[in-house]
């Protein structure tokens, strides 16, 4: 509260983001402890959570006032014009403070209160039980067991307490292997395919810098391949691009050359140049040791495979480019497509998808276990493991299963949500849309397989909303250990029960639940199948959306079908009853009365339902929403500059939940 100086500013203009003639809505801006709220003259509310703000900019003063541009992490961009510069400055400063908190305890989750008691809160946190999930997969079994090595986070701080490893891998082997792997993230089980008895395992890169070997690590990998009774060889997938690794690997053979190369690199690095010789050598050694991949000569029965997913920095700048392109006013079709291509975003999505497909194929076709790693094993590895499991196991395509998948492969295995989403004021270089990419891959799958997912697009958007909102505890912190230290389960609420309560909104009406458990998805990755995800990157630019939703119609029809089926059953049971009674010869007046009054009420209820089946109101509203004035056909014809009636627009209601 101490950051808020002005709570209310009147006569603020909200500019249309894409209008070239600066069309705007006038209204009042309110600043609360958690939200920025704009209410326009038609009483339409725009809520912006402070934690969603990625960037606030105050532009140069204009004749109409002081422009304030706010970019949000959920890709909402608002452009206000505040009449007085002092107000603008106050709000700007407040938002700067409020959007970048220094401590976890200042985040919204710690003050958010959905009016639940402690028991409900605890039950919410227990909704997703990973031990239960491993049991569902079929572990522990004769080949895989629960290891207690990390019970106190002694072997690896960023892993969860409970890890599954091959039964024949002893504790010394695990400890030895963890010393050889970056951040101690040794190979552990991520997914076990019951039918094929093959496993997806994950780890970080080996520290094999100067041709180092680690016998324990070699043993552990052997143990993993032996845990698969069907196939003796296993795949090791390095998710990093081959060219990046190879250029390094080539020089690695000649240590002298690499030292020259690294030192020349270090010389260019401003900070290190100042340091002394000893520090330089240290850095050199670290760099050399910090990169590497398994040497096929040292490991028996492994097949090494690179799949080219770029690092977090490339991804961040790619998304940045994409957002720059589609934020352009008066964008032409040509610029849009060339921008889309040059941003490389869809190429990166395709790379992630290709990697997951490779993984799924290795298990389905060759019956081979797969070990996935990147550098630290928490970004690209999480993407590939989770997406691969999603392709293999239809359970993860249900609402509950998807929550389990995120909880397992992302939250528990230490994807650094707080750093990647920039929850706290930290290093901007650690921020990267890794999880967004995962959601986008899933969206592409839902587009290609409309019947195989229980959830719809709104579910993905809602999850994306909440990884940034800091409203629930699930995504705070960077690993399980940190979360326990923050006592999140006692101080905050879990997102999942709230999503499950709202399940109706997130159901895919086309879902056919009859598919077998191990129905594998085989997506096609021809490049025209990768489309720009408009509903994500323009979620709040309603004028760009299709005007009518087939989804809603089908939902309503399903709803009505269910009701009708229920009615049929009711009536049938009534008929049966009546027949029974007739045969018994006890046809009383009472019974007649009990049947007949039913029919008129039934009729009215049917009529009522028919109205919901044909959502005329809904159609009216959306068509009305498509107003010519919103679509900027006539930017050049000044004649047309008549003010237009306001638009009824539909929000996803995401921000609403927060208030």
């Amino acid at each position: 509260m101490e950051h808020i100086r002005t709570t209310k500013v009147e006569q603020v203009k909200l500019l249309d983001r894409f209008s070239t003639s600066n069309k705007s809505l006038t209204g009042t801006l309110y600043l609360t402890a958690t939200h920025l709220l704009f209410i326009d003259s038609h009483q339409k509310e725009t809520w912006i959570l402070h934690h969603h703000i990625a960037l606030v900019e105050k532009l140069a003063l204009t004749t109409s006032g002081c422009p304030l541009v706010i970019q949000c992490k959920n890709f909402r961009i608002v452009h206000f014009i505040v009449p007085r510069e002092r107000d603008c400055h106050d709000i700007y400063n407040s938002l700067l403070q409020l959007s970048k908190q220094a401590k976890y305890e200042d985040l919204y989750a710690f003050s958010y209160n959905p009016k639940q008691n402690d028991l409900e809160r605890l039950r919410g946190w227990q909704l997703i039980d990973l031990a239960e999930e491993y049991k569902r997969m079929g572990v522990p079994n004769s080949n895989w067991q629960l290891s207690d090595g990390n019970r106190e986070y002694k072997i690896c701080e960023t892993y969860p307490r409970e890890l599954y490893v091959p039964r024949i891998a002893s504790k010394p082997i695990i400890v030895g292997s963890s010393k050889f792997r970056s951040k101690g993230r040794f190979p552990v089980l991520s997914y076990y395919h019951q039918n094929k008895e093959a496993a997806i395992c994950r780890c970080s890169q080996p520290l094999s810098g100067f041709s180092a070997r680690c016998l324990e690590d070699e043993h552990l990998l052997q143990a993993i391949s032996k845990a698969n009774p069907v196939n003796r060889y296993m795949y090791v997938m390095d998710t990093r691009p081959k060219h990046r690794m190879q250029s390094w690997w080539a020089t690695q053979k000649d240590i002298g050359r690499i030292i020259v190369r690294i030192s020349s690199k270090i010389w260019n690095d401003e900070k290190i140049r100042e340091s002394d010789e000893k520090k330089r050598l240290n850095a050199m050694a670290n760099r050399a040791a910090g990169k590497g991949y398994e040497n096929e000569d040292n490991y028996s029965n492994i097949r090494f495979q690179f799949v080219g997913i770029e690092n977090i920095h490339v991804m961040r700048s790619s998304l940045q480019k994409l957002l720059e392109v589609n934020g352009t006013k008066g964008l032409s079709v040509g610029d849009f497509y060339s921008g889309l291509e040059s941003s490389g975003w869809l190429r990166h999505i395709k790379a992630v998808m290709d990697a997951a497909i490779f993984l799924a194929k290795a298990i389905m076709v060759e019956n081979a276990s797969v070990l996935v790693h990147c550098s630290d094993g928490w970004d690209r590895t999480s993407q590939v493991c989770s997406l691969g499991s999603l392709l293999l196991d239809s359970y993860y395509r249900t609402i509950k299963g998807f929550m389990v998948l995120i909880e397992k492969d992302w939250i528990s295995f230490g994807h650094k949500f707080s750093e990647r989403c920039g929850h706290l004021d930290g290093d901007p270089k650690e921020v990267s849309p890794v999880f967004t990419q995962f959601l986008e891959c899933v969206w592409h799958l839902t587009e290609q397989f409309p019947q195989d997912f229980e959830f719809n697009e709104a579910f993905l958007l809602q999850i994306h909303e909440h990884i940034h909102s800091c409203q629930f505890g699930n995504f705070l912190g960077n690993c399980q250990k940190e979360r326990e230290e923050l006592k999140l389960k006692e101080k905050t609420y879990s997102l999942w029960p709230f999503l499950l309560d709202d399940q109706k909104k997130y159901l895919n009406p086309l879902y056919s639940s009859k598919s077998p458990k191990f129905a594998v998805l085989e997506p096609n990755t021809v490049s025209f199948n990768f489309k720009f995800w408009r509903n994500m990157y323009h979620q709040f630019d309603r004028t760009l959306h299709p005007r009518q939703s087939v989804f809603n119609i089908i939902m309503n029809m399903n709803e009505q079908n269910k009701q009708l089926e229920k009615d049929i059953k009711d009536l049938e049971s009534k008929i049966k009853q009546r027949k029974n009674k007739q045969t018994d010869g006890i046809l009383t007046k009472e019974l007649l009365h009990s049947v007949h009054p039913e029919s008129p009420t039934l009729k009215t209820s049917l009529c009522f339902k028919e109205q919901t089946l044909l959502p005329v109101n809904h159609a009216l509203r959306t068509i009305e929403g498509s107003n010519p004035a919103d679509n900027r056909y006539s930017e050049y014809a000044e004649e047309f500059s008549k003010s237009e009636p306001g638009v009824v627009s539909l929000e996803y209601g995401v921000a609403r939940m927060t208030c």
Binding site: F18, N326, L331, S332, V333, G334, D335, F336, Y337, S338, L340, E341, L346, Q448, F449, P450, Q451, N524, T525, V526, S527, F528, K531, F532, R534, H538, T543, L544, H545, P546, R547, Q548, S549, V550, I553, L614, P615, V616, A619, L620, I623, E624, S626, N627, P628, A629, D630, N631, R632, Y633, S634, Y636, A637, E639, F640, K642, E644
Partner: protein
């Protein structure tokens, strides 16, 4: 079936000139039922069966043909019966294998060329049906010979690519030459629609579905400021207009004649659409012939003034020129031009340049090329898509139509649309604007009426524009995919308003196919006048009656349709426009729908 089999395999290498009449609507489908009694031997034009009274040269109602016109229309020889298809067919038949795409099994059988079709008969013991392709739909043909066999690649106007592996080098050459000759016949009245006699349809059935009088009846119910003029009864005023046009009641036929002389091709301003809720109208015409001297025409000015007077009081007018201001000015040098501001009080000119003609055709060709590359490589798809500019044309067409519709509905203004000739982008804009504004044109029947009224009868030269599709190697002269662009825009509307169109993608695809090659006569010729001369209406079947058969209807309808009385305003941002995969990737897309 048996009879066909015999006639195909039994009749050696002699010249063949059978013309098949085939049941089942589509030109390029495996046909389930054949009508053996429909075989007309050596009678390409079927003239003998026509009653003498309907001969174009004798009927007093018909305008007299000049020699030049008759040559153009009836082909290189004045009497059609003199031309025998047999001269062009050089082969009896050959064993061949047909490859229809990556996921369709190949078809083996006897290949045979007839006057209008390519047939593949799979042999007596085969389970599959006879395969048949309308030769008119072949856009380009490529043959390769290696060793003992040859390969012919046929690229069709509906963007399909077929491959025929034929036994025998000589047979390959003969078949290729026959196809080449027969698919490029330019004569209208020897074309297949004049021989196509499907079961269940009667000639002349549906030609009275959508006369201009019908639309006038509707306009007359809404306002009496307009009248139906038959000034163009004999097509003397404007060869590309239909006989009856709707004009302001205050303007008499003599004035119309003066207007016609002032407008290119005689296309004086006529009513395209009356928007009852706002009492305003959409008009179309061609450019005025102001020329370098800035000529004026009092009657033309009066006509436009009468339009404003007849609309709601105080209405303004917009002249939407589909050329840039620069191009409109330049047109003066060649006799054209645009309306001078001072001469037309109350009217304001807007310029919205739309691409037409060759650049549009090239864009189409490049897009189809890009889609063809998909099979081989997957990279730079979006760069290729960008390079062909097709979606840019879609965006421009849609936003111009929206601008016109916005002026009519929201500004309460009258709008006159014209470009140069008024037969291409003008029709694109007026028809799209109607689709946006008028709920009745979004029904199946209404859309058919719209296409008939705003494209076919309004004089879009289909015969010229759709002579070749994207694969032809011939230098394009008059070809332009304007109608395809219209269909694509309609598809975009349907994509954004999935509940508002009563028809689905199926109807749009059917229209695309039939506009380029069809067994029906609907898209034949370039204007009503030519259609009269060729007696298209009495001697061919209408596509509409073909499409309106119950079994076809099911494929064309949109099951989600909910009628709505409101205007549908699409988004024209690049993020909202999609490539029409159902058309451009129809045959290359590996997995169609799951």
């Amino acid at each position: 079936m048996d009879e066909i089999e015999v006639s195909l395999t039994g009749s050696g290498r002699g010249p063949r000139s059978e013309v098949l009449a085939v049941g089942g609507g589509n030109s390029c489908e495996t046909v389930r039922s054949l009508l053996p009694r429909g075989l007309l031997n050596s009678c390409p034009a079927g003239v003998a069966s026509c009653p003498a009274s309907s001969c174009p040269f004798q009927s007093p109602r018909w305008p007299r043909l000049t020699l030049l016109e008759s040559v153009l229309l009836l082909g290189p020889r004045p009497t059609p019966s003199a031309m025998e298809f047999s001269e062009l067919i050089r082969t009896g038949g050959a064993q061949a294998k047909l490859l229809r795409g990556p996921e369709v099994p190949p078809l083996h059988g006897t290949l045979c060329v007839t006057g209008h079709h390519l047939l593949l008969s799979p042999g007596p013991q085969a389970t599959s049906d006879l395969w048949l392709l309308l030769l008119r739909s072949v856009d380009s043909i490529e043959k390769r010979v290696s060793g003992d066999s040859g390969t012919i690649t046929l690229r069709c106007k509906d963007l399909r690519v077929l491959q025929l592996d034929i036994e025998g080098v000589e047979a390959t050459r003969d078949i290729a030459r026959s196809i080449e000759a027969l698919s490029s016949l330019e004569s209208v009245i020897t074309s297949f629609p004049f021989f196509y006699r499907p079961k269940g349809l009667r000639l002349g059935d549906a030609w009275h579905f959508h006369p201009p009088e019908r639309y006038y009846k509707r306009v007359a119910r809404e306002t009496n400021a307009w009248r139906l003029s038959e000034v163009n009864e004999d097509f003397s005023l404007c060869p590309s207009y239909p006989r009856a046009v709707i004009v302001p009641r205050a303007v008499d036929d003599d004035a119309l004649a003066c207007c016609a002389r002032f407008r290119q091709g005689g296309r004086f301003p006529v009513l395209s659409y009356h928007h009852a809720p706002s009492g305003t109208v959409l008009l179309r015409s061609s450019q005025p012939l102001t020329g370098p001297q800035k000529r004026r025409c009092a009657e033309d000015e009066e006509l436009l003034w009468a339009v404003l007077a007849g609309a709601r009081p105080g209405a303004r007018g917009f002249i939407l020129d589909t050329r840039s201001a620069q191009a409109a000015k330049q047109a003066r040098m060649t006799g054209g031009g645009t309306e001078a501001r001072a001469a037309y009080p109350g009217w304001k000119r807007l310029h919205r340049p739309l691409e037409r003609g060759r650049p549009l055709q090239e864009s189409f060709v490049r897009l189809v090329e890009a889609c063809g590359y998909l099979a081989q490589s997957t990279d730079c798809w979006r760069s290729r898509l960008e390079a062909c500019h097709w979606l840019g044309h879609v965006k421009e067409a849609l936003s111009t139509a929206c601008l016109a519709a916005q002026a009519v509905e929201r500004e309460g203004a009258c709008v006159l649309v014209h470009g140069a000739e008024g037969t291409d982008s003008t029709l694109l804009v007026t028809s799209l604007a109607q689709l946006i504004l008028d709920p009745s044109s979004r029904t199946v029947a209404g859309f058919q009426e719209l296409v008939e009224r705003e494209w076919i009868q309004a004089g879009h030269p289909f015969q010229l524009r759709c002579a070749h599709s994207a694969f032809s190697h011939a230098r394009p002269k008059h070809e332009a995919p304007t109608f395809l662009l219209f269909l694509d825009c309609v598809w975009q509307l349907g994509h954004q308003f999935p509940l508002s169109l009563e028809f689905g993608e199926g109807l749009l695809l059917a229209l695309f196919e039939h506009a380029y090659a069809s067994p029906f006569g609907t898209f034949l010729c370039s204007s009503e006048k030519e259609r009269c001369l060729c007696e298209v209406r009495t001697r061919t079947h209408s596509l509409w009656s073909g499409l309106n058969q119950p079994k076809e209807q099911r494929k064309l309808r949109n099951p989600l349709y909910v009628p709505s009385p409101l205007a549908i305003w699409p988004s024209v941002e690049p993020q909202s426009l999609r490539l029409w995969q159902g058309l451009f990737l129809r045959w290359t897309r590996p997995n169609l729908q799951r």
